[in-house]
Symmetry: D2
Subunit: 284 residues, 4 copies
């Protein structure tokens, strides 16, 4: 079964679902799932619809033009994106020295949980090359210093371009990306922050959590933006801790939740379920 | 804003969403939410759609006939139900001597969390009358013995009829309802069982949980059926326990989870989100 | 079974447990539970020990003097507190207009979950008097304005003194207590804050959580201190939310977690399990 | 810092904690943690005490004889075990074809989370040898058929003996061990069952969970006993599912919880925190 996925964001108005579902059924498509949401504050309509295109009477390459016509005729005036379930998005993983999120992503990928390709792993250190090798994924090192940041990112752009990368996952990559980088990959760079944001933005959240004496720790998967740790949140989770936990215990326990929250966030992104709406995400 | 809610269950086929959403938009209705699910094993389609009827060009009383025509014309061949959000379902609460679930339902109701009416509380004991009195809800006692079960249920039917009851919630009502009762209120009697079913069906689940040495306890909200504790499950949850918990501790901790699971289940039912499909429920 | 509970905080050194448990067994006491913790950073020892005093060869009134001698002889040099399980602490509840935490405390108290007395409820409004009446608890109104704060607190002190109050629970009491008040009841005023601190300190946390687009909300039970929402945390918990939740939904869902976190925090306090250590709590 | 860990199980009586903690302090040991529990139903006392032996005045090899004397003199009449924190227990992992629990154990081991040695992995299939190779752990295949079970286990005993194995972890090893095997390694074989026991004992729990329409799935780490899936439970956890989850989704989501529950159970065992008491475990 091959399916198409349409994501629409536009001003809310009557008849949007009817127009789209009518279009699909008129051309013999069978809807698999349809999810929508209306943000009442801004009167914005969000929809994700996936349909079986086995018998669809419009060829793949003609669906986008047909949608152009449909949305123009319907006065939708927003924006839409079209995906095909059998074309996997291409994910680059950026890592530094921590390996737990990388292992988690690669093992889930191999188990068939992540429907994407992982053509390249980029790091500022050699350390995790053996992990990449085990899975047969190319691994490129782009060292980073304060001085070479501009040149290093240019090198990274080349890598991303040469591997036709669609989105980037920062799997505990401890570097800040530039405004230039983030604007090129707007809402396409997913970061994992090791706290329940907005608490403990910035460095050493576990140390600060310990100092504050909190009884929970957490992790947050979010889109990276120029304002560090302030990007739209995709997924978050927490777990209980106690006074018995040292900072090292928090770091150890935190690994577990970091990797799960990141993988869950990546899964939602890959399934084309994540819409960015201002500071917030809509997950359909 | 007043809205209509349509629940449809039928054989899956192309064009169902288009037909219904087209019908709504053609008559100037604005869809608020639309959720659907297809059970692939049985090829069954489930949909819940809610639309604003403020400008709807069909009068309330004519919507059902129009839907009859629509589904007949479309060959939907299933069944559908129509609700209006401003017409609250009427819930009877059956209780015995435990009060925690009753308090929880009545407090949530007063806080506006449960969009239903609670015109009557039925019990086989006098004990909880003061609770009912506090909230100004009529309270009728129908004593039950093994001998009088038939007569007692006839009395209960009269009460339910006189209060025009739509559905019954057994809030730790420790009596088994007859096949006759359950067939009259099929999929309209919600029970809370104090274990994570299918474990510990039947009596004294906390005692048996303690004996078995489990490390979690739970609760299950389900439709009551003739096969005790085997009805379709609406909602379940668990919490961690330890060797330090005595049976009494389990009972105390269990109260917390019982009342939450029951109230959550009732909320889903009231929102017309629960579809029964064989042994299972679909929650849209 | 009647038991004594000893809480000790002192510099860590060898032989502390032996000295205390030896003292208990020499006088025919049977230890029911013993919990201890050493904070390595500050080399501080914390212990809570509870023992059956049925056959204890020291009379109740002589246990404290005996402990004075024991700790002096042992050079413990810290501080200790002695409690008897059959002497319930006396809790005052401060409320404003929100009733959910008050209901929760009173219902759990009546169910035997909270081993304390609740001789008085204090409020700045009349609104919740019917709740107090239902449970037969005295309810006193002390109105508060910016101008009368000093006089109002003097009135509150009189109430607390006349009812011999041991500790105060702010059950969504929306007023800030003065430094004078808090120093008189140091580490004896428990507040519930409706966010997972340190996120969203201060006013309107649910509105700000909504704005930020977080995917979890939470609640924090902590000791009230002059630095608002910065007191030592006793207990915290979170729950998942989604883009579908409006601010009102967050407030509704938050009530559930607020009342549970507060009651759990109060239970720990009542059981004499909470030690304050700088900004942090040790829960034994 | 090197420490000794003593586990005691005996009839409860006065003075047990004083006797043991006195013994430790008399010989200049400093207690790091002491946890105890009394099962009131059977009047059984359980204690785990860990103390720093840096300055302990009894040599390592003489501690056990000294404890023999102590318990004989004190009339403890139960049994005790002594461990040293720097002597890691030796764990054999038994696997079949599923790799997720094995990966999880080996990655946590390498990250320093599991304080044990893993000298050997045993399997009835070749499939997971590459995983073992990556971590440099010997991997031996012992094929199993209905006919060769007796001979196969004899081979396994040889392997376990030659690697001086202390305990066995069945990491989704899909074979039933014989009564002979289990009696040799009584309470030293940890299994992970992919359901929240006692629900769905036996084969294909996810299929049966799907059929029953439950709203949660879970996993249980327990000691393997002759009565399949009835052994003492060490740890359990659950997660929420919905009608949207197919059996394959349950299997995928279940992997996550299986591996966490197993690793958590193994951690408790390795830390010498697990006491078996009839059908139940005490976790100190």
């Amino acid at each position: 079964m091959t399916s198409a996925i349409l994501k629409i964001t536009c001003q809310d108005k009557k008849g949007l679902i009817a127009a789209v579902s009518g279009f699909i059924s008129q051309h013999s498509g069978n809807i698999i799932t349809l999810d929508e949401f209306v943000d009442r504050d801004t009167n914005t309509f969000f929809m994700r619809v996936e349909w079986d295109i086995h018998d669809f009477t419009i060829d793949r390459e003609n669906i986008a033009p047909a949608l152009d016509k449909l949305t123009a005729a319907g006065g939708f005036g927003g924006r839409w994106e079209l995906f095909f379930a059998d074309i996997k998005p291409r994910m680059a993983v950026f890592v530094s020295k921590f390996d737990h999120c990388l292992w988690d992503l690669l093992l889930r990928h191999r188990a068939g949980e992540l429907r994407c390709d992982i053509p390249i792993i980029v790091s500022n250190h050699e350390d995790l090359r053996p992990v990449a090798d085990f899975f047969g994924v190319p691994y490129q090192v782009v060292p980073k210093t304060i001085e070479n940041k501009f040149a290093a990112e240019r090198k990274e752009f080349e890598i991303l371009a040469s591997y036709k990368i669609d989105f980037v996952v920062m799997a505990r990559y401890m570097q800040v990306l530039s405004e230039d980088f983030l604007s090129r990959y707007e809402n396409r760079v997913i970061n994992i922050h090791h706290s329940f944001l907005p608490a403990f933005e910035g460095a050493k959240p576990y140390h600060r959590a310990f100092e504050r004496g909190v009884k929970i720790i957490g992790a947050t998967a979010h889109f990276a933006t120029v304002n560090l740790d302030k990007g739209p949140i995709i997924h978050q989770s927490t777990l209980q801790i106690s006074h018995q936990d040292t900072v090292d215990d928090l770091i150890t326990k935190g690994r577990d939740i970091e990797k799960r929250v990141l993988s869950d966030g990546v899964k939602l992104y890959i399934a084309n379920r994540v819409f960015v709406h201002g500071h917030r995400t809509i997950i359909l």
